[in-house]
Symmetry: D2
Subunit: 359 residues, 4 copies
């Protein structure tokens, strides 16, 4: 639509615009369309990072860059090509591959930013969260909610890599972050099979009577793969037996939750796990907010904005806000997913559109 | 305190009181003290029902009384001696021992009243809740929230007895109950090890993506003993290792919760399980609301209003509102507990007083 | 339906029943129908108390009975004929007419029971709530939530009568009440036009920054008639102008709310005001829970359980749980209403049935 | 602190960094300090816009720039000098002065972005929100929550200017905004004294029975100055009488709220009004989140980061996240304030530090 407010150039108009400039003012009428598009027009683009590219670079980092204080983590961030060279996978989310070599320690610190880890492969690292050592193994989803001290150490002779997700861009953009250094070594090098958090909270439907105060973030430090895998399998079995259980035909999914509220694990980040049976294709979906997925197992593809991307184990992709997307499973297809949905929903900006068509 | 409002008897006064009577009116000034006591003055009394008395009567009922339509359940209700001959364990709660003989079926029905079962001994019965067969075994806590069809059947050649808890008195007193007959037989005689509800919901911290709507009552049909037992053990182990986990020294406890909210399993009934180490004695406690306990295992005693009652496996006792009580463990002492606390708390009548003394 | 569980009489059976009796037990199978009816079967009956009967008795009480400590209030309670001679207008609610003679003082006390007053006629009394003097005038709705000290005094040479509503039966039945005497005189005999509570809270949509903590009960001590009247008028005007505003054609209504939450004024009592245009008849409605109305102005009738009762100013009637009822307005018909709906709804027992028929 | 992770330059390292670049990756260790500062380090700076500069430019815009479709509004946005030339008063908030000449109409549109208007001076404009004409007068606070159609028209021969506040930067940054054009003229040119929204909702503590569903944003379209002024006056009077009412000695304040919840008026924007008595100085305060103020009446100053800025009627200033600030009143000092606090609090990033010192 034409902008009826743009007057012809004139000396007076130029003087007016100079007055704006001198006084740190800007007219709305020269910028409406960009600032307030008809629908979300993300600068972030749909993008796939291949594990086959990522992992060797992580290994090489392990060889060349020591892990230590100041840099804090040997984490390689995914920088969405649309976001002006910033290490943002989306405007709200940070996603990185972290690599810890044999016997290395990443020092302790804490920050307002909420963090999680997801382990696509390997084991042998313990993350120590507020003094509680938490084993990291394949398929586990691990929490480090804001302002908890945490460090990591590798107990083995093998390196280990995993996915880190945080709300760093959101915190940076909105000036909400605090950061504090902790111990240079982790506070406890014990390597228990289960963290204290799990021993206290990891019992379905049971709440410790000493813990009746609800918490902003989930007190469960580790969501173990064995539970996730079993929950997904049961959904598919129930579906086969004729009972409602899945989100779509052949599509099992769980959301990780805070047991004190039944809601998302952290205030800014939602995390889920999806399993598609071979051949399943999900409806084309548009959602306000940014979604990131990592392939955990299997082969398939994602169609984003009409473009098909082949996917293999370890591949990570981002679906920016309102970009139409659909998943397709070639084999049984397991994907870990996270998003900024709690931000979007708590501020009531959520909208979803399921398109009635094949991609 | 004297009642300054009581005028001397007179013809005029008698005429006034007759006027009240004729018009279905009553003066407050003749009844304040009783109606509004300085602190809760329950008519219910502290009382212990011995399993050694209860169980043989249940067996005898099994011999003499058929289970069937109309009477619906072979349930023997605990009638608090203070409550005018009603089958109320407290003004709000119903507690009964239900007995089902070999191969018997208790027919299906549904009602607004919330119900649970707790199994102090035995196995072999399946309760079918809205068509979902739920195994009942020792130590399990099982839900039948309001308006779910349910029936039971015994698959074995052994009788089985268990504890039923409901909010029948509350529903009756406040005229909120609806009741409907269902099938004369249960709708599904399958005997799966795990109910569909458990297969969908029984994974710690994981919520099916197809079930994002919160529910008034917990969707978990069965809280299994193995989880309860492990949760309590872990609390005691964590305490021994020097970490906060128990509600008091040597006193582990869990509350059964609705995973969609983190709150109580049903709107009117709270359920918990407590484990005391040998020799532990809990502080004297007064609480608004009624609490009922059943000894699951071990030996100990309860002091109520200063009177000590010895307790053994299966014994059931009620602590009426504001009655001071304390538990004492002789052996490891396991108790199932339920109460009307959700009623009290949702209506903001809750008060607790922990007395700083030995009972 | 027949009770299939009633065995033929026998010596063994009698022995069993004696065993029950001796051990404070009762079988469910002899009482199911009464305890768990198919729909609420309230013992309370629909009933109308005529103001023309009530008020003269209140006046006579004023002449014969002094107001003072012990009896506390010259309040005459409405005793539902169905409720075994208790001063209960319903199983949950207490409703009384309180009468205070010229220059009298009702002494201060406090109790867990929630209370309100509604003024059908007159003025000149101040109720002093936690030291804050609150004027009482015709049409005002005034709160004394649980555990606030309160007393009343009449500043004039005229007597005054008003309606008291409390949750005394509920508190008594469930053993939740505490009571404490306060000053024998009220703590402040000032007679300001507006209470401090109103001055702080009575501004639409504005919350004092010093009062950001939500409160269990409304902090607004007095809901003035001028606001209620204007709100109802505006609804009817908006309806005439073609905009949605009323609950039904010609039926304006407001609910009194707690401004810190938008919910009911107190945890156990809902209060509303209804205005019907002449000729309006409301649909037949059944609701779980007890509703009490007082005619504030105008003439009309209520049909309860098919029986029509004529109503005039001051008349009070109760609609017990699930009793079908409908209001009919002869003139403009103003009714104050209160109920136990917060109890019913917070415990998820609420059901409503609007019947598609004329009464 | 030194960054121990920075290895010496080498060909291998350069190759690694080139590999990162080629694959849209970035290491965390080169950017931690900036991305995750020890405390919020806003790029936005504390800044004051003088009304004496702003207003003449608005007038000149009125002379030179027609209001119309495409540009939509003759709004002049405040561009924080620290925010890279964007029209953001803070990272989250947009603040503009809007100017509407005699008899002009700003066309209708709607958008996800939440908007409000505050009138520092003048009258004669009606904003039409979803078809409901809302008068705009001095001191009024007016809402246009997300996705409501709205346009404005000036009914008089005088121009009018007011303050617009929106969450445009937040919506833009996070890709959550939708926008739709509406009628080129407003849908209703009526000029009622009170909007339908006010007539329905503007009664303290009274909720229309037809409106029991809670709403995401406040249904009150206009918060009138007369109520705000009275509420503030009453607080100061109550303080003088010795009662708790103000937030600090001589400092009255109200928050505008959504009456359906008691919470903020919109999901992303908080609005308040503050009144300081002459001579009052508020404690130095740091808060996570951005606050914007406009002087409504009186003279005083604000100290931000230790720098004192003199303030007069109409002046607007921003306090970026965690910047210490204090207000000082020379005369009675009235300020309208708005912030992104609902964003910060709903995502649990809120922190406040009151410093125990004079600025």
């Amino acid at each position: 639509m034409d902008n009826e407010m743009l007057p012809p150039d004139s000396a007076e108009l130029r003087a007016l615009y100079e007055g704006f400039e001198a006084n740190h003012l800007k007219p709305l009428w020269t910028q409406t369309g960009n600032l307030m598009p008809k629908q979300p027009a993300p600068r972030a683009i749909p993008f796939v990072w291949k594990w086959s590219d990522l992992y060797p670079l992580a290994v090489e980092s392990g060889r060349l860059v020591p892990v230590g204080r100041g840099g804090e983590r040997r984490a390689i961030g995914l920088a969405n090509p649309g976001l002006e060279g910033r290490t943002y996978v989306s405007p709200t989310l940070w996603c990185a591959v972290q690599y810890l070599g044999p016997r290395e320690t990443a020092p302790e610190h804490r920050h307002s930013q909420n963090a999680f880890r997801f382990v696509v492969e390997g084991e042998g690292v313990w993350t120590v969260v507020n003094g509680d050592p938490v084993r990291m193994s394949r398929g586990d989803f691990l929490l480090t909610p804001g302002w908890n001290f945490h460090g990591h150490h590798n107990q083995t002779d093998q390196p280990m890599a995993w996915l880190d997700g945080l709300d760093i861009p959101f915190a940076y953009q909105n000036d909400v972050g605090f950061f504090e250094f902790g111990a240079d070594r982790v506070t406890d090098y014990a390597t228990p099979r289960f963290s204290r958090a799990e021993r206290l909270w990891g019992h379905p439907g049971l709440r410790p009577l000493s813990q009746l105060q609800n918490t902003v973030s989930s007190p469960i430090a580790a969501y173990r793969w064995e539970h996730t895998d079993r929950a997904l399998n049961e959904q598919l079995l129930l579906e086969e037996e004729g009972h409602p259980a899945t989100v779509g035909q052949g599509h099992a999914a769980i959301r990780y939750i805070n047991p004190t509220t039944g809601g998302d694990v952290m205030s800014t980040i939602r995390a889920e796990f999806h399993r598609l049976k071979p051949g399943v294709q999900t409806p084309v979906r548009r959602e306000v907010g940014s979604n990131v997925y990592q392939v955990f197992e299997g082969r398939g593809s994602v169609v984003m904005d009409g473009v098909t991307h082949k996917l293999e184990k370890g591949d990570i992709f981002v679906v920016p806000s309102w970009v139409p997307s659909s998943l397709q499973a070639e084999t049984t297809f397991d994907l870990f997913a996270f998003s900024d949905a709690p931000i979007i929903e708590r501020l009531n900006f959520n909208r979803t559109l399921i398109e009635d068509r094949v991609p």
